[in-house]
């Protein structure tokens, strides 16, 4: 009942923040609107790129498939609904953009559906329509991804369309100009959006000249200057089977899938795996105020964090749940929202990129009260760094994190997302079975040690966009408050 669902989606206001897309009725945003800051709901998760994840005997249901052609995929067979969900991720994404060509990967990604082989964009869309399939392409800071949804009876034809799209994209001049204009419109809107502006400035300051400094969709200058050759070059760097992770969930068996995968991806270049050497992240704190005439200031803050393969990652994850990851139950929410009513949304999260770990947070508060919110946030950062958790908090965090793990595996789409996220993070195939044990094993001492190592309240780098009172740009947050 698509029409009913669509219509029901938009109008509600809710208790805690939903992703931005759920808030407005039918304002179509071009797919390339820059997402400078990851949304809470995605980044608060433990496995990057995997929104949500399963449980029970789970890992026994995950089959690792090695195709005759040499590809690897993880499959969960699920025959309850006659659909197949395929999630594919190529490690790389916007970080393989060359200096001065930022946004090329994003533009190339948006152009794949604009025509391939002997099909123009209308033919391609019509053929997907005819079989009621969908193929979506997306670029993020560390990956280029493909999401396929198909009725199981049409999966072969759907994957054949994907094969054509990936092996023979046209990148016509007409499509490049049209899509470029859409992306530029999104970039112009982002310059007027306090939240986007804050995120953009934050990343720029944290990463200097590393590619992470620029939004995935690039800048107005770079996108304006991109040529067709730039798009072709970016595409060649994005697509390489050596960096491809495949997760499949649904009404299909291993043998059928293996043959399909070879047919679909067999002619793609193998390429090379990517260097994951960490890049330099700003070490010093500070406060940057950007004046914009809005009633509420948007704040992005944080400092260096840890990588996903850090042995402290799970203790840090548990710590973050209590500090600012746990929705209505976190310390930040309790202090800033529940006790003082300063904000609707205040949060923190671990954001492990491939080449840099970040520990980030955010808040949106009325201009008159931003300084007070920031003071409270810094205090909570310090309290956690000094003392870690109470026994009761640790117990509560473990109960939530282990119990809610199952909620990440209640749909094909979520499971497929987990399958590629886990492969991309080099997690073992039995991670689903071992993960809750890892959480249970975390001690008060672990959290205290990790909190002290990770949290740097005096080195928080903070960007505020709005008209905040009693706040000025300064070399440290403390110096900026009261200014």
């Amino acid at each position: 009942m698509r029409t009913l669902t669509l219509a029901a989606a938009g109008i509600a206001a809710c208790l805690i923040a939903l992703p931005v897309s759920a808030q407005e009725t039918a304002t179509e945003t071009p797919t390339e609107v820059p997402q400078e800051t990851p949304k809470e709901t995605t980044t608060a998760e433990e496995v990057p790129a995997a929104q949500e994840t399963p449980q029970e005997t789970a890992s026994s249901r995950i089959q690792e498939i090695a195709t005759p052609g040499g590809l690897t995929a993880w499959l969960v067979e699920e025959h309850a609904i006659p659909i197949v969900t395929v999630q594919i991720q190529f490690d790389g994404g916007a970080r393989v953009d060359e200096p001065g060509k930022e946004g090329a990967v994003n533009l190339a990604t948006a152009l794949i559906e604009e025509g391939a082989g002997d099909m123009d964009n209308q033919d391609f869309a019509a053929r997907l329509d005819d079989i009621n399939s969908s193929i979506g392409f997306g670029a993020s800071r560390d990956s280029f991804s493909v999401s396929v949804g198909s009725l199981s009876e049409n999966i072969a034809e759907t994957m054949d369309l994907l094969r054509i799209a990936l092996t023979d994209p046209l990148f016509t001049d007409e499509a490049i100009e049209r899509v470029r204009e859409q992306i530029l419109s999104g970039l112009r809107s982002a310059k007027k959006n306090p939240q986007s502006l804050a995120g953009k400035q934050w990343y720029a300051a944290m990463f200097g000249d590393a590619s992470y400094a620029t939004p995935v969709s690039g800048s107005i200058e770079t996108v304006t200057a991109l040529t067709r050759d730039d798009v072709l070059a970016a595409y060649d760097r994005m697509v390489a089977t050596a960096r491809m992770k495949i997760g499949v969930v649904g009404d299909i068996d291993a043998q059928t899938l293996a043959a399909l995968l070879d047919d679909t991806f067999g002619t793609l270049a193998e390429g090379e795996t990517l260097d994951k050497t960490p890049v330099t992240v700003r070490e010093t704190g500070g406060l940057v105020v950007i004046e914009e005439d809005v009633p509420q200031s948007s704040v992005v803050l944080g400092h260096r964090g840890i990588l996903r393969d850090d042995p402290d990652y799970i203790p840090a994850y548990v710590m973050n749940y209590v500090l600012g990851g746990g929705g209505l139950t976190s310390r930040l929410t309790d202090e800033v929202r529940e006790k003082k009513g300063l904000a609707y949304s205040v949060y923190s999260y671990l954001y492990p990129l491939d080449r840099a770990g970040l520990y980030m947070g955010g808040v949106a508060t009325a201009n008159e009260r931003v300084a007070e919110s920031l003071e409270l946030i810094q205090q909570e950062w310090a309290r956690m760094a000094d003392g870690g958790l109470t026994a009761e908090e640790l117990e509560g965090a473990k109960k939530y994190l282990t119990g809610a793990f199952a909620l990440r595996f209640d749909s094909n789409a979520k499971i497929a997302s987990f399958l590629v996220g886990a492969q991309s993070a080099d997690l073992p195939i039995d991670y689903i079975d071992t993960r809750n044990g890892e959480v249970e094993a975390v001690t008060l001492e672990d959290v205290a040690r990790v909190a002290e190592r990770l949290l740097q309240p005096e080195n928080l780098f903070v960007v505020v966009v709005g008209k905040p009172e009693n706040l000025k740009s300064a070399d440290t947050l403390a110096d900026g408050i009261g200014g």
Binding site: T3, L4, T5, L6, A12, T27
Partner: protein
């Protein structure tokens, strides 16, 4: 094009009603050992007393403060410590509360939800802080964002008298004045089993849900519900136009909405309008994107939607953003030309078949998400549809003809029923985007 789609694709849905009038629907999904538990109240922002806009949503926030037996601040904490997630949302016609949790905790969340149906405990000290939270929510959703502010003005113009013209979150000035008595009065009046719908989706059987509902919800007494005070929409005699110029707009946009019936008030027309929205806007091959972004190059994007999941009234709307030097007036001209062409020449059998097929496929895909299935059924029942309406949806859709679509289009897409909105950046700023 045939409507043939795979068999075995039907969701397993059953329902029952408790003696106190509480409806219940069970949607079975045995893929994972979890459940989504929702309670929907048939009350939303459209039921607010005059001068008290925002009270439905404000009360929704206050419902998390605790009950006579659940200490302040503990409600969501108890859910979390049982590995669950909870949240709530308010709309024009309903307010819903939900938890997602392991199936063996269903009894726990039912006991808590039943408790706060009649025993909420709102302390005076919660009142001010939570009202500030709501104001910040309003800032984030609406006041910080010109499109949000414009949308409010647009809705207020679309409905001349009906309460759908009021923003769900409330007008800022009235939110500021809401107090504990307002919240409790609204609560006492509307939060009762005979105004509630229970939805449980997930790894459960109808018998299990029935037994738990008998234990937790059946003992609650029903109340006399007040008459509806939503206002009747008079005939629309004049097309309305709005222009909002704002420094913070980066991209001009055009909005055009028409007052329409809803799935409840006129299901046949609504079904036809649903199909029309797909014909016009259901993908890049459809009329609007094709004509306005590909063939004429006038728009960056363009689309249409039908919003008919409502108790009293619906909306059929168009939106588009001009490209390059195109003005909003030129874009509006192109849109009007397209609408005139539609009304004169109709839609083709192929367009109709494609739209039907897309809608039915969407139903199959929708089953992948337990939460959205629960929401779909909850919303439908909360606005006054019946299970039959949902289950016979495919037949109803199948019966729609091209003539039905055109009859609906001709009845609804008339200037007098419309609001046209221009959301613009100041003229002097044009091109200054470097």
């Amino acid at each position: 094009m045939a409507l043939a789609l795979p068999a075995g694709a039907e969701p397993v849905v059953s329902d029952f009603t408790l003696d106190n009038g509480m409806r219940a629907v069970v949607i079975e999904d045995h893929r994972a050992p979890v459940v989504t538990h929702m309670v929907w109240y048939r009350v939303g922002s459209a039921d607010e007393p005059p001068g008290k806009t925002g009270i439905a949503h404000y009360l929704e926030h206050l419902m998390f403060k605790g009950t006579d037996t659940i200490a302040p601040g503990q409600f969501s904490k108890i859910i979390a410590e049982n590995g669950g997630q909870d949240n709530a949302f308010t709309s024009r016609d309903y307010t819903a509360y939900f938890q997602r949790i392991a199936k063996d905790r269903l009894g726990l969340v039912m006991s808590m939800e039943a408790d706060r149906m009649r025993n909420v405990n709102i302390r005076q000290e919660d009142i001010v802080a939570e009202r500030d939270v709501v104001i910040e929510e309003r800032n984030s959703r609406t006041d910080n964002n010109p499109a949000g502010r414009f949308r409010e003005q647009y809705m207020a113009a679309l409905y001349l008298n009906h309460a759908y013209g009021i923003p769900v979150i409330g007008w800022r000035e009235e939110i500021m004045a809401l107090d504990r008595d307002d919240a409790l009065e609204f609560y006492e009046r509307f939060y009762a089993p005979n105004n509630a719908i229970l939805i449980v989706a997930g790894d459960v059987t109808p018998d299990e849900v029935r037994a738990l509902a008998d234990e937790h919800y059946a003992p609650i007494e029903s109340v006399d519900l007040p008459e509806s005070v939503r206002g009747t929409e008079p005939p629309h005699l004049a097309a309305r136009r709005l222009t909002m110029v704002d420094e913070r707009v980066a991209q001009d946009s055009l909005w055009r909405g028409y007052l329409a019936p809803s799935y409840v008030t006129d299901g046949d027309t609504a079904a036809a309008l649903g199909i029309l929205s797909d014909v016009l806007s259901g993908g890049t091959t459809r009329r609007l994107p094709k004509m306005l972004t590909l063939e004429t190059d006038l728009a960056l994007y363009a689309g249409a939607y039908f919003s008919g999941m409502a108790r009293d009234l619906g909306e059929f709307a168009f939106y588009a953003a001009p490209k390059g030097d195109t003005t909003l007036v030129e874009l509006e001209g192109a849109l009007d030309w397209m609408i005139a062409d539609l009304l004169e020449n109709g839609i083709t059998e192929e367009e109709l078949a494609r739209a039907k097929k897309a809608s039915i496929a969407a139903e199959i895909y929708a089953q992948d998400s337990q939460s959205s299935m629960a929401r779909q059924y909850g919303a439908a029942l909360a606005i006054g549809l019946e299970l039959d309406d949902i289950q016979n949806w495919r037949d109803r859709l199948d019966a729609v003809t091209t003539e039905d679509v055109m009859d609906a289009a001709r009845a609804i897409l008339v200037p007098e029923r419309s609001v046209t909105g221009f959301l613009m950046k100041p003229k002097t700023e044009e091109g200054a985007d470097g």
